[in-house]
Symmetry: C2
Subunit: 423 residues, 2 copies
């Protein structure tokens, strides 16, 4: 048979030996992995490269690229109230589009093929995802404390109707209630009811800071996790970002209700929010994925940095260097992300999986010597060596060149938007 | 006048505005920075690049590149006794040379121009430094508990006589007593006496783990820092690696005796050693530099990762996101490193400074938009974008191509050494 695409002579991250393989792709799926000679309509030379599943950024606010380096090293509320929120209030649909395009360029060039986004004007984010060919789970950020909270909910409902399952299932939509401190229980009930009617899952910031938890306990007598459970949110399926300050009881609920966690270690450190008890979550069988958060609190979209940091910081936090070995960190950045976002057959280089594959150039000093590929990738490699990127069986980046994006235009337009917003 | 080298139209990390500059280099020094048209024997086009001082890796074991990915995610003593030490015992001078060459390739390609190394067979390390054109402070790792401890001390003395101040001062030599738990006080007295006679400084692992401190307290009634002070080490000038578990009294001694610290945040996390109290050290006026440690406990030599992690982890540890702002992290990775290693007029892009300059390609998504250059470099950029690297006024890497190193040969030879050592 003739495959659509054949990747020849490539090493594979999960294989233990030094051999090279041929990968055959039919439609949007991996149809062959082996060492027989196979032919394809298109052939990609994979020599000196390693195939890794496209990474999944399980929590970000893509268009915040426009605010990168605008405000750093500040106290949280000073930063939000005096820097971030005033500029965000000025953002137009055009800004969201170009900010997201800048983010897609950065993600694809660093081996991330899927992301979960929460922001405003998500129709423009969906357009960017559709055009570039990435895979995404999109949610409209919902705030209950503002006069137009009902309108925002309506926008999220419309987003679901317009985009959920579109582009061969590349785009999915969730509801995006922002956080317990911006969404009172009455508003959350409306969100949950609407989501239940649509069959739509939830993406929400939960238990990011101790202050959030304290306030929620004071106002509701429950932790944010316990409150959401009581409101029935977790019956819908929930992607919970952060979960830094969760109790043992919270984690019991999360495991029982299959809450999926997006752990954002860099953002949590940069904003001094704390370190989430990830090893305990993994032990309880909770699906933990990784996210970058927005580029104001990171300040890039490099998922390999998150995987490396997750492995390192929890070893130290647990006083045990065997915690989160390289393979676990790799799974968190890939297949766990796919599960967390609700994409099926995604996140592994296996027959039958969706063909979201990244080929990294291994002809770099930190890829020598090669005793253990997962260790090399997680602890030593550089995400910028992503040379060729496929999403859903389609080549988006080939030998460092974008096939679907005019990057010089993206840089120029995003820069123009940013300068106008902050002048 | 005609400069040796002129870098034209380049942005500079420490300049606040969006303008570009011309940098004139005479001999090994920066002789001009400004916006006048100047001419040079050699001209480098700096357009779309940013000039950053070459980073200083203040603590590593370069040849351990040969053990990269050989043994990870293990308990410390299991890792050392069953994996690292048995292989190190087999290393020949040739292995040390090629392992160090692999490290120099990796460091230069990621914008590091100077390093402090402690290992065996340091004459081969010195040869690699001399050939490649890097700048380094070298020390022979000394262990007092072995039969040939006197021979090792003699090798360090000879290393000082052969190499200290060589190559226009690019190579300096320190004494390298390994650690309190491998060097008993009697041996340290011999090392200190010999160093005092030579006028040689000390590079030593100090207070890396709580266990080390506990053992030292039990055996000597003093912390490692207080013991070294009592032995007179700090009068010589000391570069102390790690200093994770130091007391307030230790830090008072370190400040008073001008002990310089090499902070290795990634290694400390990966080996679950703890988090050093760096903000307290900085507040006390202690010079804190950054290091990668060896690539078995990191697993790369990327100094920008260390600077980023130092900024992030201490914000969280201090529960204060204003701690270690981007500029401080930048200084730790550059000028503080120069001070820690004892190199004068090094680590800043200023007239009169040594011309150790790295030009990073800014035409990358994470360099947009550009509100704050130090923030962009420390929080968002990628060290692999180092395109052109000068050390001591000499171009070693130009537009990504090495002028002094045959990298394919380095990869092949280092790989061959590694496979032989571990087969």
């Amino acid at each position: 048979m003739i495959y659509n695409i054949v990747i020849k002579d490539v090493e594979i991250i999960t294989e233990k030996n030094n051999e090279v393989y041929n990968i055959g792709i039919t439609g949007n799926k991996i149809a062959y992995i082996g060492q027989e000679e196979i032919t394809g309509t298109k052939t990609i030379n994979g020599a000196k490269h390693i195939a890794v599943p496209g990474m999944v950024n399980a929590h970000t606010h893509a268009a915040m690229t426009l605010l990168r380096s605008y405000a750093d090293d500040m106290m949280l509320m000073d930063w939000l109230e005096n820097k971030i929120w005033p500029v965000e209030a000025l953002m137009t649909k055009d800004d969201i589009y170009w900010g997201t395009m800048l983010a897609t360029v950065e993600m694809l060039k660093s081996g991330t093929t899927t992301f979960a986004d929460m922001y405003a004007d998500m129709d423009k984010v969906a357009e960017a995802v559709e055009e570039t060919g990435m895979r995404a789970s999109l949610s409209r950020g919902l705030i209950g404390l503002v006069p137009d909270s009902a309108k925002k909910l309506q926008e999220n409902i419309q987003l679901f109707k317009d985009w959920h399952g579109k582009d061969n299932g590349r785009i999915q939509v969730m509801m995006g209630p922002h956080a317990p401190y911006t969404c009172p229980p009455d508003y959350l009930k409306k969100v949950i009811t609407a989501a239940g009617e649509l069959g739509c899952e939830i993406h929400m910031h939960l238990s990011e800071t101790q202050e959030e938890v304290n306030t929620c306990l004071k106002e509701n007598g429950l932790t944010p996790i316990a409150l959401m459970d009581k409101l029935g949110m977790f019956e819908l399926g929930t992607l919970a970002a952060h979960c830094v300050h969760v109790t043992d009881n919270d984690m019991k609920i999360m495991a029982a209700k299959h809450v999926r966690v997006a752990h954002n270690p860099q953002s949590n450190l940069k904003l001094a929010s704390g370190i989430a008890p990830i090893p305990a979550m993994l032990q309880k069988g909770i699906t933990v994925a990784l996210g970058t958060d927005g580029t104001s609190s990171n300040n890039n979209l490099d998922m390999l940095e998150e995987a490396r940091l997750a492995a390192f910081i929890h070893k130290n936090q647990s006083k045990d260097p065997t915690v989160i070995p390289a393979n676990t960190a790799l799974q968190m950045a890939t297949v766990n992300g796919a599960k967390a976002l609700g994409f099926e057959n995604l996140g592994e280089i296996k027959i039958g999986q969706k063909a979201d594959i990244v080929l990294y150039d291994m002809n770099k000093p930190y890829w020598y010597p090669r005793y253990d590929r997962a260790s090399l990738f997680i602890y030593a490699a550089n995400a910028s060596d992503a040379a060729t990127v496929l999403v859903d069986g389609r080549v988006l980046l080939e030998k460092g060149e974008f096939l679907t994006i005019d990057i010089e235009k993206v840089y120029a337009e995003a820069n123009k938007c940013a300068l106008r917003l902050t002048k």
